[in-house]
Symmetry: none
Subunit: 231 residues, 2 copies
Amino acid sequence: MIDVVLCVPSCEGPIRKALEVTGVTPAVASSGRLAEVSALEPAGGFAGAVINAAGFPFTEAMNLCRQLRHRTTSVGPIILLVDHYQLDDLTFREDLFDDFVVGPFDVSELATRLRHRLRRAGNESVAARVEHGDLAMNLETYQATIAGRVMDLTYMEYELLRFLATNPQRVFTRETLLSRVWGYEYYGGARTVDVHVRRLRAKLGEEHAHLIQTVRSVGYRFGVPEREDGD
Amino acid sequence: MIDVVLCVPSCEGPIRKALEVTGVTPAVASSGRLAEVSALEPAGGFAGAVINAAGFPFTEAMNLCRQLRHRTTSVGPIILLVDHYQLDDLTFREDLFDDFVVGPFDVSELATRLRHRLRRAGNESVAARVEHGDLAMNLETYQATIAGRVMDLTYMEYELLRFLATNPQRVFTRETLLSRVWGYEYYGGARTVDVHVRRLRAKLGEEHAHLIQTVRSVGYRFGVPEREDGD
DNA sequence: GCGCGAGTTTCACACGGGGTTAACACAACG
DNA sequence: CGTTGTGTTAACCCCGTGTGAAACTCGCGC
């Protein structure tokens, strides 16, 4: 079986060479849109993805990563190509990709990383479940239960809850949530987040509504206040 | 809790800097022998390991990786530092390490990879924290605890305490606090600061209220009174 | 010791802004 | 066309915050 690796937005120079050395065939999606990606997809799914975030709007690249991760058919490891100045942007987005390479891109490093991740992908099983207290989310079936009761969440509600629940205790501003969950830069309605939080709280039910806490003048946080014994 | 990262065979220059930036403390095992490593190990095990295979016999480095992986107590992610010419040697050894960096080593890339792997390994505590005695503040969760008890601080209270706690022992005038914490030039009611200090003291509780001291006709200071013998 | 004044603590209250909520507009989908 | 999901708008409400004044404390001089 031939392994096909998705390349966005192009596959030239060192990238192409690295893929050749590794022995996988590229599938180039120049736009990076999900429709284009799906059209290119082979029967067994992609073996991996190489996304060049340098010379590509960064949030769009992140958005694509997110979409790839959320598809039903798995897409192997995602490797991000970034410029040095973009390193800081990677912080707290660790869940969106598996590895990265800093430009200028070296063929052998690229190839080594590709091989490394492809090999490891075979052994590791991705966490398909998120559990936190009474909340359980199955990422494969897209179902969420609270204290055993199935919640009927919409897509956005599910995504928001998943993001919050996978980063418990951390506070996120509305802007951050918009860019991380919705996937675009903020323009205007921060109330959007509020409303979705409200709907989530309603579906969580009276007794679990407090799982999403408001941190006034900051944002929202998932989880119960920690009792951390200092020392 | 403080995260300790094993460093072999040394921790200098960019490596030390990267560990500092990430907020973990190094434990240096110069020989790389298992006995030495075990002696350095903290109670909770290592949070991760950085092994410099450049300037180190390569097979020895691989041996150490293998030994670390086979121990009973887990040793977080293993990051290998290699020279460019060693890249080929990594092939078929993917299971022995989690990530690698190619020299010359860049601080921010190193730090980013370290954080990336630590976070993926489920390590929550690579967060910005302020700790001082019984007080602990987590800047990500916006939570503050005093002697293990969670304090329910409002936004302004949190900001004020954070500023004071990050500059312990120093005395600040009300004017300084207003301009540094509130962020605007002030003229009028300096009582604002007093009141917030009072509210903070109340939430700190009887026995910790003295953490914020009044310096009459000057301002306020955070920390325990210094035992000044001579002065 | 007593009284006085400057400085600090404490209290109560009013205002403003951030958060919640409901209702609506609109797009997607069958 | 109805249904369902999503984003926006606007009214409402409440909590956090700042302020002034009263009570209190400390330091100093008489």
